[in-house]
């Protein structure tokens, strides 16, 4: 190994925009993903704020009914396919998985670059619906047939975009599975991998196995629209329920593509900031696999009111409850990790704690929706909107920003202003809960989702919610502003482990050299969170 070149940080190794756009370095690809994801996230947030503004008062304020439908569809498509599905694996998985495994790159660096390009092509296609023809699809991000076959808006383009984005997801999953099987540092057995790697492993299998199903299904929509094959449209002999099956066979496992990596992040943050070995390593690791597996068999809970047979409804409701078991195992283990730990309250930990709080609310309301009887009442109300924002945004979104604050100094060799980060967190947290909690109430009162208007009796929770969206936006701007300023003006960080972490990424120079390590990484004796044998870090 040439030590001279090994010392150059990946940020400085090559200059010029092309050296980034065509880089096969997993760290640079991770950052390409980060910048593009944040951009699309902000577009999605803007659409969300627009919707909330429209809902401030009953009646029409800002947009027509059809435009509102297009906005929530584009918001959903962007947030799901462009932000939350790639989020943690594509950014932090790409950047840190190889380093945490003690290797120099993923197994297929060029496929990795391809996956980013494919992602960008899909993103451009999705956003292009804004500017031509009849505008973005107005079907909801679920593209339910037969409406998606009949509407004049740009469904084909949106659907093809989602199809293309699926490939990007598959390529990332494939890459991680092979990397984890083949490139672990000598001595790092499966049960000595960091839990983030375990979470990515389980996620990758879902990406690889479930994504092709939505790919085919979306192509079937295009075929139905252009050729009138008669797959989903009952007027030409199709079965609309078949569409829902195919859609949710992917899209339910997909919620674990969103959630499992976040669980992995939390399992990294908690040991570092409580200076304790994670409680129940194996339970957490295997529960990821269990969630991935059981997650395949419960898609029917999205269809309880679609005219599904009683037998199937009963079975799907029962199976849905099963997922709560491995999920609860994780939560109990996290809390047990904190117990009697030496807790260091730093910005990333705040995000992790908010994750546990909000994900629990999301999870429990999920059980309420999974229970057949209650779901009949709550289906397609604002209760559902509250539930999935708590899981995806309050859960995975917060884990994403927690991870960003955690690995920030390692990625850029700079530290943000922690006081500002804490303030931003508090505003963000308050804004989030003010925005979404009222949705549970309006939902229980019976307010349906996906309408630009509502009855006057739902006014109060809607005012609260819209004010919450403004608070959240302020918190978000402060948080991102703080991070952007720190990129250029932040205190320089050169120590290898500013937080006292002991997984391998804290053994490399800050920021990491192109080859990731300047000397052979040293595996902790008893697994990746062996704080007992690292008394110098315990402080």
């Amino acid at each position: 190994m040439a030590t001279a070149t090994a010392q150059v940080s990946y940020l400085e190794a090559k200059k010029g925009i092309l050296s980034w756009l065509f880089s096969v370095d997993h760290k640079r690809i991770g950052l390409l993903y980060l910048y593009s994801l944040i951009t699309f996230f902000l577009v999605g947030v803007t659409l969300g704020l627009l919707m909330r503004y429209e809902l401030l008062n009953p009646g029409k304020d800002l947009v027509e009914a059809k435009t509102y439908n297009q906005i929530f569809t584009l918001h959903g498509v962007i947030m799901i396919f462009l932000f939350i599905i790639p989020s943690i694996p594509a950014v932090f998985g790409n950047f840190f998985l190889p380093i945490m495994l003690g290797t120099d790159d993923v197994s297929f660096p060029r496929l990795n670059l391809l996956s980013w390009w494919v992602y960008i092509i899909g993103a451009v296609m999705a956003l292009s619906t804004l500017v031509f023809g009849d505008g973005p699809a107005d079907t909801g991000w679920t593209f339910y047939a037969p409406y998606s076959v009949k509407t004049g808006t740009n469904v084909s383009m949106s659907v093809l975009a989602a199809f293309i984005l699926g490939f990007s997801s598959i390529l990332t999953g494939l890459n991680f599975i092979v990397t984890i099987h083949r490139l672990r540092a000598p001595g790092m057995t499966f049960t000595k991998m960091p839990l983030f790697a375990w979470a990515l492993y389980a996620t990758s299998w879902i990406q690889l196995l479930a994504t092709p199903i939505i790919g085919i299904t979306l192509l079937m929509i295009v075929a139905e629209r252009t050729l009138g094959v008669g797959l989903f449209d009952p007027s030409i002999g199709g079965d609309p329920i078949l569409y829902q099956h195919l859609f949710w066979i992917y899209s339910h496992p997909a919620v674990y593509i969103m959630a499992l990596p976040a669980f992995g992040i939390i399992s990294e943050l908690l040991p570092t900031f409580s200076r304790r070995t994670i409680f129940g390593y194996k339970a957490i690791a295997y529960s990821s696999l269990a969630i991935a597996f059981v997650g395949y068999f419960i898609w029917g809970h999205h269809m309880f009111t679609s005219g599904m047979s009683g037998t199937a409804r009963f079975i799907f409701s029962m199976l849905t409850f099963l997922v709560a078991i491995p999920t609860a195992i994780k939560v109990f283990n996290w809390v047990a990790t904190l117990y009697k730990g030496s807790i260091h309250v730093e910005p990333p930990l705040l995000y992790a704690l908010a994750f546990i709080f909000q994900f629990m609310i999301g999870g429990f309301t999920g059980l309420i929706l999974g229970a057949l009887a209650t779901d009949i009442h709550l289906h397609d109300t604002y209760f559902v909107v509250g539930h999935f924002h708590y899981v995806m945004f309050g859960g995975t979104g917060f884990a994403f920003f927690g991870a960003l604050h955690y690995w920030y100094p390692k990625i850029w060799g700079r530290m943000y202003n922690k006081a500002v980060a804490n303030i931003a967190f508090v505003i963000f947290f308050i804004g989030f809960n003010t925005l979404y909690f009222p949705m549970f109430i309006s939902g229980l009162m019976g307010m349906p989702r996906r309408y630009y208007d509502y009855l006057p009796e739902f006014h109060v929770p809607n005012i609260v919610s819209t004010v919450g969206s403004w608070i959240l936006a302020i918190g978000l701007l402060i948080m991102l502003g703080n991070l952007i300023v720190a990129r250029f003006r932040g205190r320089k960080v050169t120590e290898r482990d500013p937080w006292g972490g002991i997984t391998l990424e804290w053994q490399t120079p800050t920021p990491p050299p192109v080859q990731n390590f300047d000397s052979l990484p040293e595996l902790p004796l008893n697994g990746p969170y062996d704080y007992e044998n690292k008394p110098q870090i315990k402080d």
Partner: protein, 107 residues
């Protein structure tokens, strides 16, 4: 480190690259052709056999998949864990079909 990648690559080759005799490929080919022939024959008598012909066709297709995966795609020579993964995916596929059919047939 770039080196170590290549090394791993080579080790990997030595470890798992079995020279498969041509005769095995030929036998695989013959088996597949034979199964295809049966599929054709069954479909010719399809009308008489009714639903049975669908099951037969599906069954033969499954056998073909197994032959291809096991011999042609070298599953035979891989570590047990890979066969396990393939079987797992098979189970998953069957379970998804059964659950969907369950809903459809009871509707």
């Amino acid at each position: 480190m770039a080196q170590s990648h290549d090394q791993q690559h080579e080790n990997h080759h030595e470890a798992t690259h079995h020279a498969v005799p041509y005769s095995e490929h030929i036998r695989t080919l013959i088996a597949l052709l034979f199964l295809t022939a049966i599929t054709v024959v069954v479909s010719v008598f399809g009308a008489a056999l009714a639903t049975l012909s669908v099951f037969t066709a599906l069954f033969i297709a499954t056998v073909k998949v197994v032959v291809v995966a096991y011999y042609f795609m070298h599953l035979k020579y891989e570590k047990k864990i890979y066969s396990g993964l393939v079987i797992l995916v098979g189970i998953l596929f069957v379970a998804l079909s059964v659950l969907t059919a369950l809903e459809y047939l009871n509707r």
